[in-house]
Symmetry: C2
Subunit: 322 residues, 2 copies
């Protein structure tokens, strides 16, 4: 029921996924609505079932209150399913705060991890970087960022196949003396514990590929991804406005259309699936609120890689061993 | 002596400015180097003089230490000149931290203002917004942000001519319940004191024109402007890379060149001059480290508007009256 185009886009993406990928899915939500959408498609019925969730948490409800009050929402029921045998992961494009709160309450945290963090793949000119946290923990302490960085290393190594991931902390200058006390303390803790710590990186290194794991608090990370998303949209609007003024420019844009599409595709979040919620004791994937069917299918694909690589048990091992 | 292209770009910009604008300039720096540059140009000599500053603070020196040790740097001498009669403003493209530190120490703060803030004009689809702080105070308290917002209102009203500037605080959600404790406290203080407070704005509103003054701490603001700057550069690199792959796309880009230039011009900081350092008792303008001659000339132009509108005395009046 979550996301701006739910349930239609979610159902379509799930149907595509079960046809294409080796996965079984339970759709959780208002049964009537979900089944009405399902009737549009043909699909292998043994791979799909529907679970009724009578309550819906809307996109702008206060997270902790809604999770406490709506015990029969699709978010709460879905998170709780992870404690049943046979369920490997939960995916939601719904209220992010509610997913974080429900996961923390019902799954608990990994040993040695005190706060959850949302990670996100950022496309680089070549390859990807992984930024964490983009919004779960806006009141972070230095030790939370250290814990997130240990999880990020496992994620990037296992899921992206990068052998010895480079870790940087997002700061407003490269020198160790730069930034506020919070970042300086985090820097010290990470330098003492991480094998491949590159130190401070500035915001202009977020897209440079200089490091594999970019660590920041949830407030800063959320600002980073929203600025990025909206700036690209604004630039697009501005370019379109200028092009409309000239027939010749319109022809130029037409001739460039395949290249422009390729660039947009590179920057399109729906190509890369969702954002893993790390730190809770279960695989939870948060999809963009604007998720289209492709984004949902790719979120399922990304989640299958997490399952394959057993990232939860690897994280537990590595965090406790250090 | 400050900035990546100093002294050549600074001197060229100043020469252009004194020919075009009603302004007299003292160039402060290593006299030999500055005069060697000046020999390239003809200009009205009565409008320009050179003051020798035997020391140079480099771009990456620790700010407070360098200001304390190098008492004869162009930054320190320039800031101190503002206390002499006949000098209205100081402009530097040098080490930002050193300019902030020297200004704070030698000019002191405005009554009722405890910390300086660097403001910046952000081009919108239509018009401008003013964001403060983009890097002076990375350890901000709520009251500092309130003080910055009072200054921002004066700046935007006087310099941009916006009658009743709308003020928003940058947060990770629009609802009052969103964000960390620091932002919530700032929100309360601003709501109690500002005439036209629009509340929380999200990062996607930075470019939407939804408010005239965007208030945030210096850490967050610095991340915002650096992400914006670098993302545009990365997108440009990506587009060029794609276009190179096809002759037809190259022709398309050629036909669109005027429109693309117009878009780049809209996003080009050098069109809008420098970033005012607000809160200190004197007009100080910080130019981008990469300032070209046009950026320097436009920084002088922007500074003349500040002088014309007496923003310092208006700020003193309004902050103390409330």
């Amino acid at each position: 029921m979550g996301g701006d185009y739910a349930p239609a886009a979610i159902v379509e993406g799930v149907v595509d996924a079960i046809k294409e990928l080796d996965v079984n899915v339970v759709l959780i939500g208002l049964q009537d609505q979900v089944e009405a959408q399902l009737q549009k498609y043909s699909y292998p019925p043994e791979r799909l079932s529907v679970m009724h969730a009578p309550e819906v948490i809307s996109m702008h409800e206060a997270a902790t209150i809604s999770v406490r009050k709506k015990r029969h929402s699709s978010i709460t029921l879905g998170v709780k399913l992870l404690k049943e045998p046979g369920f490997d992961a939960f995916i939601s494009a719904g209220n992010t705060g509610a997913v974080v709160a429900a996961s923390t309450v019902h799954l608990g945290m990994l040993p040695g991890v005190e706060r959850p963090g949302i990670g996100l793949l950022i496309p680089q000119l070549n390859g990807f970087s992984f930024i964490i946290d983009v919004g779960a923990n806006s009141e972070a302490k230095a030790k939370h960022l250290l814990q997130s960085s240990l999880m990020a290393v496992v994620y990037v190594r296992e899921v992206l196949g990068v052998q010895n991931p480079r870790v940087g902390i997002l700061n407003i200058g490269e020198e160790e003396s730069k930034g506020n006390d919070f970042v300086k303390e985090t820097h010290r803790m990470m330098a003492a514990r991480l094998a491949n710590f590159v130190g401070n990186i500035e915001a202009n290194d977020i897209f440079s590929g200089r490091c594999d794991c970019i660590i920041c608090d949830g407030f800063t990370g959320n600002i980073v991804i929203k600025v990025s998303e909206h700036l690209m949209e604004s630039a697009g609007t501005l370019i379109k406005r200028e092009i409309k003024k000239s027939k010749i420019a319109q022809l130029g844009a037409f001739l460039m259309r395949n290249q422009l599409k390729q660039v947009l595709r590179h920057a399109d979040y729906s190509e890369y699936g969702g954002a893993p919620l790390l730190g809770v004791n279960g695989l939870v994937m948060i999809s963009h609120g604007r998720s289209n069917p492709k984004a949902i299918k790719n979120a399922i694909r990304a989640t299958l890689r997490e399952i394959e690589h057993n990232i939860i048990s690897t994280m537990i091992k590595e965090i406790s061993s250090k």
